[in-house]
């Protein structure tokens, strides 16, 4: 999900430290309404349009949609081609139109403790902390996927996606040139696209407000202003990607605009880079095991060169300072049980960490914040119609932006579990009954410096056609 929604979400979950909290309280007016957001899931990828084109059930490409199977990953890496000289649209019935839509009616309950609210018994402007619980029927945004091939080895993807108010943006717009020079090792994609994450947030199996995103991908230390960045989000740029014929070995390198996939030119004058590589190997009857590494390296402006009528002029952001996120990932299969493990490390420049313009001096005690994160996600695929899901994420600050900050400020734990049941599997449409509970705790980020805990419960009917 992209700004402003995603940025608001980060504000709730990642940046509500003391300094950040005061800043956000002024900016957003009140925290409860900011946190009672629409469900974060949009632009999640699972396309019955492909199933219809190739006559295959969802379960061929997805272990449980939208999570890809090795076969589905290979199909995607081949530019949505099977490679049987039948991929070009000229071989389809003229009536075939590669469109899929997806939406999820839900009932969900959100509860957050120590939410800052106005104190009804106090003087005007006085605030207090209270648990705020809301629940009701709702629906997610709507995705319209159109994707496939324009000709042999030329692929495309256009994804207009809305929030639940029907306000559309483009979640993906790209074209890809596949198998350049006749080799699977050279494929070039240009536009706005899903980063080549092994653990892609666009394939996430959980939907709730807390569980519908990977906390590690979006985390910024408390007190830090949100800058345009997000491994979990689709980004704008160009990607070089390659893979072995059986898809066991993969690499990708992307040059990205530093605007987090938003339309228009970026506010700054830098480019970001995303690198990923992985290798899979067979382990007898257990299945295909995959290990990989990734890194997102970028710069963000710390102030603007020009203003007009007091407002920053887009594109004139300067004083770039660096940041990076890097990680190791493993996907382990033990027959019906699969486990994804991830180690994550992040670093921000002290200027970004303390919101200090690069043409000024750093405050006393300022230092570049660093943190380590981890993810442990298990799936038990009972059969293609039922999958049990469990995920635990943690983030631990290893260096605070200010030496005076508590050492555990911003530390985060998130637990999500649930299941998806697909009453039928076909090559025409997808339908899932989804039930999930997620809980997030972040250290020291409330007004009183205590821990903030958020619970999400979601029951939904997830369908795509």
């Amino acid at each position: 999900m992209h700004s402003p929604l995603r940025n608001r979400r980060i504000a709730c979950l990642g940046s509500a430290g003391f300094v950040g909290f005061l800043f956000l309280s002024i900016l957003l007016g009140d925290i409860p309404s900011a946190c009672a957001l629409p469900l974060p899931r949009t632009g999640v990828y699972a396309l019955p349009a492909f199933a219809r084109k190739y006559g295959m059930p969802c379960s061929s490409c997805h272990e449980a949609w939208p999570k890809l199977s090795p076969f589905g990953q290979s199909f995607k890496d081949n530019g949505y081609q099977m490679g049987n000289e039948r991929d070009a649209p000229i071989f389809q019935q003229p009536a075939y139109w590669p469109v899929t839509f997806r939406i999820t009616p839900t009932w969900h309950r959100e509860s957050q403790n120590r939410t800052t609210v106005d104190d009804p018994a106090g003087p005007t402007g006085a605030q207090m902390e209270a648990r705020v619980t809301t629940h009701g029927f709702d629906w997610t945004g709507l995705d319209f996927h159109t994707a496939g091939t324009l000709a042999k080895n030329i692929s495309f993807y256009v994804l207009p996606s809305s929030n639940n108010l029907g306000q559309f943006h483009f979640e993906a717009v790209w074209t890809r040139f596949n198998n350049l020079l006749g080799t699977t090792w050279l494929n070039v994609k240009v536009g706005k696209f899903e980063l080549d994450n092994l653990l892609s947030e666009k394939r996430i199996l959980t939907l709730s407000q807390v569980g519908g995103l990977y906390q590690n991908y979006h985390f910024q230390p408390p007190g830090e202003s949100s800058y345009v960045f997000g491994i979990g989000d689709n980004q704008v740029g160009a990607e070089l990607m390659g893979h072995s014929k059986n898809d066991r070995t993969r690499y990708s390198a992307a040059l990205l605009s530093s605007n987090d996939g938003n339309p228009g030119l970026p506010s700054g004058r830098g480019y970001n880079t995303f690198l990923a590589a992985s290798h899979a190997f067979e382990a007898g009857t257990l299945g295909v095991q995959r290990i990989g590494a990734f890194a997102y390296i970028g710069q963000a402006p710390t102030y603007f060169q020009y203003k007009a009528s007091g407002a920053n002029i887009a594109g004139t952001g300067i004083g770039n300072k660096g940041f990076y996120r890097a990680g190791l990932i493993g996907m382990w299969y033990i027959k019906k049980l699969d486990v994804t493990t991830m180690y994550f490390h992040g670093w921000d420049s002290a200027f970004l960490g303390t919101n200090t313009p690069a043409n000024g001096a750093l405050p006393d005690g300022a230092q570049g914040p660093t943190w380590n994160g981890g993810l442990f996600e298990t799936h038990y695929t009972v059969n293609p119609q039922l999958i049990l899901i469990n995920r635990y994420e943690l983030i631990r600050m290893s260096r605070q932006a200010f030496v005076t900050n508590p050492g555990n400020l911003g530390n985060l734990d998130a637990l999500t579990f649930g299941y998806r049941y697909y009453p039928f599997i076909s090559s025409r449409a997808g339908f899932a009954f989804h039930n999930e509970f997620a809980r997030l705790r972040q250290r020291g980020t409330t007004l009183t410096g205590l821990d903030m805990t958020t619970n999400s419960l979601l029951l939904g009917f997830d369908f795509a056609f």
């Binding site: 061929s60 090795p70 990953q73 000289e85 039948r86 000229i90 000709a151 067979e282 090559s427």
Partner: protein, 286 residues
């Protein structure tokens, strides 16, 4: 008298042998280095295959009406790509290769992303659909003699064989799959079937190598009008025919085409067969 150590050894061997024996009993297919298991194959089949091949393996999956050619009917157990004589069952390795390779110009993709074990398991399960696998054994693998030397003469002789056996009636004089009989051909499902078009294909139905092409002549493609020439064609003639057919693949860089290009006759043929112009939307030059 057995010592305690010996007794323990016997017990240990027995414990280890029981599961090994049990696993051995379940193995129902053998391809590459792997033993396939029906149970595991069943789970894979009902994840990946049933949409086309059907719940009962009869090729009547929910997508079958929309596919051309129709999916393989495992109940009939008639298979195109074999290393065994026409009319016989294929070997497990043949089925394994087919799953590995997929079938060009059909909806059957390559399943190379599955593990070797997965593919072998699938074979075990596929074989449960037809009683033929209980009543018959796979045919003996045909002998493929070493390939004869590639020469201009072998190509020319192959061209003569092509004429003599009337391959052109289906495949056309230029190998475009447009011979005079092409429009009348049907497969064992009574579905129209088009002969192989050498001019655009990079892969044959049953593989990419010269040996694969040789095998097609000698085993035939069961269930299609392509017969076996095992009883009528000498091996040396078959190899010469292979060399000639490679020259019909005018957009591929093959040694046969390169050699044929060096002759005046060959250069003229190749120039005439290479049609220049705008590629179709398929991305394939016609």
């Amino acid at each position: 008298m057995m010592t305690m150590a010996n007794k323990l050894s016997v017990i240990l061997v027995a414990i280890l042998a029981v599961p090994s024996f049990a696993i051995g009993q379940q193995a129902e297919s053998h391809a590459a280095k792997f033993n396939g298991h029906e149970g595991a194959g069943k789970q894979l089949y009902y994840r990946y295959c049933w949409g086309c091949h059907g719940f009962r393996g009869d090729g009547n999956g929910e997508n079958a009406p929309y596919l051309n050619p129709l999916p393989r009917n495992f109940v009939a157990a008639t298979f195109k790509c074999r290393s065994t004589p026409t009319g016989t069952l294929p070997t497990d390795q043949d089925l394994y290769n087919a799953i590995n390779r997929g079938f060009n110009t059909t909806n059957m993709p390559s399943w190379i992303t599955l593990t070797d074990q997965n593919r072998t398991d699938l074979i075990s399960f596929i074989k449960t659909f037809s009683p033929r696998w209980k009543n018959e054994k796979p045919g003996d693998v045909i002998n493929i003699p070493p390939e004869s030397k590639l020469t201009v003469e072998s190509i020319k002789h192959g061209q003569e064989v092509f004429q003599k056996l009337e391959c052109w009636k289906c495949h056309g004089q230029e190998g475009r799959g447009d011979g005079p009989s092409a429009s009348t051909l049907t497969d064992s499902n009574d579905q129209p079937i088009r002969p192989y078009n050498f001019s655009v294909g990079s892969r044959f139905k049953c593989g990419v190598t010269n040996q694969d092409l040789y095998k097609i002549f000698m085993t035939g493609l069961d269930g299609t009008p392509m017969p076996s020439f095992a009883d009528t064609m000498k091996p040396e003639d078959a190899w010469d025919l292979v060399h000639f057919l490679r020259t019909l693949q005018v957009y591929l860089k093959t040694p046969e085409l390169a050699l044929w290009q060096t002759t005046k006759e060959g250069a003229e043929q190749i120039a005439a067969r290479r049609v220049s112009g705008t590629a179709t939307g398929s991305g394939i030059k016609q």
